[in-house]
């Protein structure tokens, strides 16, 4: 399927200016390509693909951009832009960009967390960048609707994480790490994993591979699904339908690291999980 889609895309580069949409990739990294693939699966129209360092084809008006580097352009007022996998770009009032959230639908996310942790009452959410504020607030509001206290804990600057954690009360039933590039790296991940283990609370992370690195569970929208959501949103905008500033995929996958989850005191059979790691 992938080969077919890519061959279809390959058939358009010579007529880039005539393409219905222009996809801009920050780099050739696998995560952006996965999202592009998801986009192509749903889009159905013609697409010109360029890299972030290149100029867009003349006359292009509809864009899907993958990554913050690609998204950080000065867009013209009449441009229709959907930004995907661009967590470092903060939404600005009146801008032409629709953002596909890395978080996914917060209501779905909380429901899946609760299925995993039935005793969940307080969820501590760690975030840092201004660009994560909207998603963090959305999660808090969803918590209010579902009877979960979502405690937003902003780590600023990210390097203060160890001391920041020391200052946090021991009242959380789980720790959720926002998909915030300023906060997700091997060092902070290791600190959070040890912090959660010492307190025997589940450490939840926002991208699937982190379960293999020791998070108790990941609750994540796949890069491919974000690409699909971007295609639907761009189509809706071109069709003149109203689209929210933030698009949130409801397709949220749960992966459980059984050893880490058990160590954190979770004793469920994890039937609600999409994938279970021993």
């Amino acid at each position: 399927m992938r080969a077919v889609l890519l061959l279809l895309a390959l058939s358009f580069p010579g007529r880039a200016g005539a393409a219905e949409a222009t996809a801009i990739l920050s780099s050739d990294s696998g995560h952006y390509r996965q999202a592009l693939e998801g986009f192509l699966e749903v889009w159905g129209g013609s697409v010109a693909v360029v890299s972030a360092g290149e100029a867009a084809p003349p006359g292009a008006k509809a864009y899907v951009v993958f990554g913050s580097r690609a998204a950080a352009r000065a867009w013209t007022k009449d441009a229709v832009v959907v930004a995907c996998l661009a967590p470092s770009i903060a939404a600005e009032e009146g801008d032409a960009v629709t953002h596909v959230s890395l978080l996914g639908d917060p209501g779905v996310l909380l429901a899946r967390v609760r299925a995993l942790i039935p005793r969940l009452k307080v969820l501590r959410v760690l975030w840092s960048s201004d660009s994560s504020r909207v998603d963090a607030e959305a999660l808090r509001k969803a918590g209010v609707e579902r009877g979960v206290v979502v405690h937003l804990a902003r780590v600023s600057p990210p390097s203060s994480l160890p001391s920041f954690l020391r200052e946090q009360a021991d009242d959380a039933d789980a720790l959720w790490l926002m998909p915030d590039p300023a906060l997700i790296n091997t060092e902070s991940f290791s600190i959070l994993r040890e912090y959660a283990a010492a307190r025997k609370i589940p450490f939840l992370a926002p991208t699937e591979g982190l379960a293999e690195r020791g998070a108790a569970a990941t609750i994540a929208v796949s890069f491919r699904d974000m690409g699909r959501a971007a295609a639907e949103s761009l189509r809706a905008r071109l069709d003149g339908r109203a689209e929210p500033e933030f698009v949130r995929s409801g397709t949220v996958r749960v992966t459980v690291n059984v050893a880490a989850a058990r160590a954190a005191g979770l004793d469920s059979d994890f039937r609600s999980a999409d994938k279970v790691l021993p």
Partner: protein
């Protein structure tokens, strides 16, 4: 290019599973939230940060040693008077009281307005409480006001832990013993911590390496810190401390001593105003009583005090491309001494200051920085200080900076108002017309990160000019000899600083740095103390160090420092010494059998029995220490 991209996509056999961190790593290094490059290392000045993890791993036992092995720093041990035990300066100009360097503890100035400079061993801060130390080399008066010309040392202590916890530690060895205890706890609304440290440092040997120079220091410090966050947008902080030191008087018969008693209080309130930024208000007070001056016959008493009030507003605007700081502050500082200010014992200085500092991302690669401070005081009148800088990022992970700064240094109250008749036929007289020194600095720097930030490289090249430099001169050569101060001298300094740091594993890192500095002045060694500025700073210095976790709970670290020869001048003793070039080598081995226990062995100055670094008649001996620390709670 487009075709190549497609070929690359089509050629990929399958989307291999990325490292889980790859995506976030790539996003983090491309852009920050503000859409302009501004990670912490992309500052308009040379900044060096030493974390609590490094302080612990290298086993530093005092603040001067934390600063010793860093680029551009001059640390001379063996300073024996006034509660210093070390002379510390950034970018040269070492002397008993380095008036051009500001030292802040959690934002509160610890600079002494009486003689100028900082009493390092007596600072009301405990080693166990330090979270990090920031060294800003070069002038930063636009943000920090007067006396921040050569640099700023910002000591930041840790906030209380929320979970009930505590610690006990004890260390001892060939020259010192110390114990420290802490207890803390809190909840979601805030926390409270209490810490205590008792230190007894033995007197150093005399400069020939034998005997005891009677410069012992016994120190007792108690610190309290509380935080209260009634809501996520508002934080109140309270800090307070009392300390008492007893120190020997070098050169005396061993029975003479001086006492220093200090207390401080600070209240800070911070409120986040969402889109409008953050507002911060700080009130603080400190007081120091020195019950004897260690140098002269007879008792001298000095009381110094300082009141501070500051209001700050920080905000991002212009689509978060512009970061602005506006501030206003008031400071009342003074000293009371019947002996130093005979006839008019109460001297004080009231300082009003307004300042602003802006950083604007002009393009994705170019950032402009500008700061201005206007300060009006009784001692210095109206003094503007300012800073302008341009940061250019030619490629990811590389930044070039060019800056020009002007900063002034307020003369100490003693130099301005002294009327001090020593037992010896010497009369020190202040000069009421003494003006602030004026420093101008041109600096170019390059900083880069590689290997996903594991390898850090920095280069700084600078030229500084100090006009109206304070100059002690003989006003009258009769009996008594009358010495006063004026602004007759002018000095320049040019230097290069290189530093590399590589973090090769969790808990493992190596670093190396090299500093070159050459100082010139118009007057040469013609002042009363015959201070030779040109030889007062080592021309070449380099330091290397490393730390690693060895497995099975063992950790090791080592530090090696080299200093060129220089002349040490002690103005309080009127002595001058040609110090030979020297190496210093420290090593430490630790064992952590459980996460809450640590045992260590350490050796300092291991290459020779003793070294001489300052002209106070004392030496710095080889030392050995061992210790144990236990932590309670998470």
């Amino acid at each position: 290019m487009r075709a190549l991209l497609f070929l690359a996509i089509a050629a990929a056999p399958a989307f291999a599973e990325d490292d889980a961190f790859d995506f976030f790593r790539e996003e983090a290094k491309i852009y920050t939230a503000s859409r302009r490059p501004e990670p912490a290392w992309r500052a308009p000045v040379a900044v060096d940060i030493i974390t609590a993890e490094e302080i612990k791993a290298y086993g530093y036992s005092n603040i001067a040693d934390i600063l010793r092995f860093r680029a551009g720093m001059d640390v001379n041990d063996g300073r024996s008077s006034d509660g210093n035990r070390a002379v510390v300066s950034a970018r040269g100009f070492s002397r008993d009281f380095v008036a051009e360097m500001q030292v802040l503890i959690d934002g509160r100035s610890a600079y002494s307005p009486f003689l100028g400079g900082v009493y390092w061993a007596s600072l009301p801060v405990q080693m166990q409480d330090i979270e990090r130390v920031e060294i800003i080399r070069g002038p930063n008066a636009a943000l920090y006001g007067s006396n921040a010309a050569l640099g700023v040392i910002n000591i930041i202590t840790r906030k209380p832990a929320a979970a009930p916890s505590g610690s006990l530690s004890a260390r001892g060895g060939s020259r010192m013993r110390a114990s420290a205890e802490s207890a803390e706890g809190g909840g979601r609304l805030g926390g409270l911590s209490l810490s205590h440290e008792l230190t007894q440092v033995q007197g150093n040997p005399a400069s020939n390496g034998v005997g005891d120079a009677n410069d012992f220091l016994h120190s007792n410090k108690l610190n309290l810190r509380g935080t209260l966050a009634p809501n996520p947008e508002t934080v109140f902080e309270f800090m307070g401390g009392v300390s008492r030191q007893t120190q020997g008087i070098p050169g005396s018969d061993g029975g003479q001593r001086a006492t220093r008693e200090e207390d401080f209080q600070l209240i800070r309130a911070e409120r986040k105003l969402d889109a409008a930024g953050t507002v911060e208000a700080v009130l603080s007070h400190s007081e120091l009583l020195v019950a004897a001056h260690p140098l002269f016959v007879g008792t001298i008493r000095v009381r110094t005090y300082q009141y501070d009030a500051e209001l700050l507003h920080r905000s991002d605007w212009g689509g978060e491309r512009v970061n602005s700081v506006f501030g206003a502050s008031w400071r009342l500082t003074g000293a009371y001494s019947d002996q130093s200010f005979a006839g008019r014992p109460a001297q004080q200085n009231e300082i009003m200051r307004g300042f602003m500092h802006h950083s604007a991302g002009l393009t994705d690669r170019l950032t402009a920085v500008a700061g201005l401070s206007l300060e009006n005081s009784q001692v210095g009148d109206l003094q503007p200080s300012w800073q302008g800088a341009a940061l250019y990022s030619p490629a990811e992970d590389h930044i070039l900076r060019l800056s020009y700064s002007r900063a002034h240094t307020m003369p100490p109250l003693f130099n301005k108002y002294a009327n001090y008749r020593l037992a010896a036929p010497l009369h020190l007289v202040g000069n009421p017309d003494l003006a602030p020194q004026q420093l101008a600095s041109w600096e170019a720097g390059w900083a880069s990160r590689a290997l996903d930030g594991a390898l850090k490289s920095e280069v700084a090249v600078y030229f500084m000019e100090i006009k109206d430099r304070n100059f002690p001169f003989i006003q009258s050569a009769g009996a008594p000899l009358v010495v006063s101060y004026d602004n007759r001298n002018r000095a320049t300094a040019r230097g290069v600083e290189l530093s590399e740091e590589y973090a090769f594993a969790a808990g493992g890192a190596v670093f190396a740095n090299y500093s070159f500095e050459k100082i010139q002045d118009d007057k040469g060694p013609t002042d009363f103390f015959r201070t030779d500025l040109r030889r007062g700073t080592p021309v070449h210095k380099f330091n290397v160090g490393g730390r690693a976790l060895l497995g099975r709970g063992f950790g090791a670290s080592a530090l090696l420092g080299y200093k060129d020869a220089y002349d040490a001048n002690s103005s309080t003793r009127g002595t001058r010494l040609a110090v030979a070039r020297s190496f210093r080598f420290d090593a430490r081995l630790s064992w952590t059998p459980r996460p809450d226990w640590e045992l260590f062995l350490a050796g300092m100055d291991l290459l020779q029995p003793y070294r001489v670094e300052w002209a106070d008649g004392t030496a710095v001996p080889r030392r050995f220490e061992g210790g144990v620390a236990k932590r309670f709670g998470p």
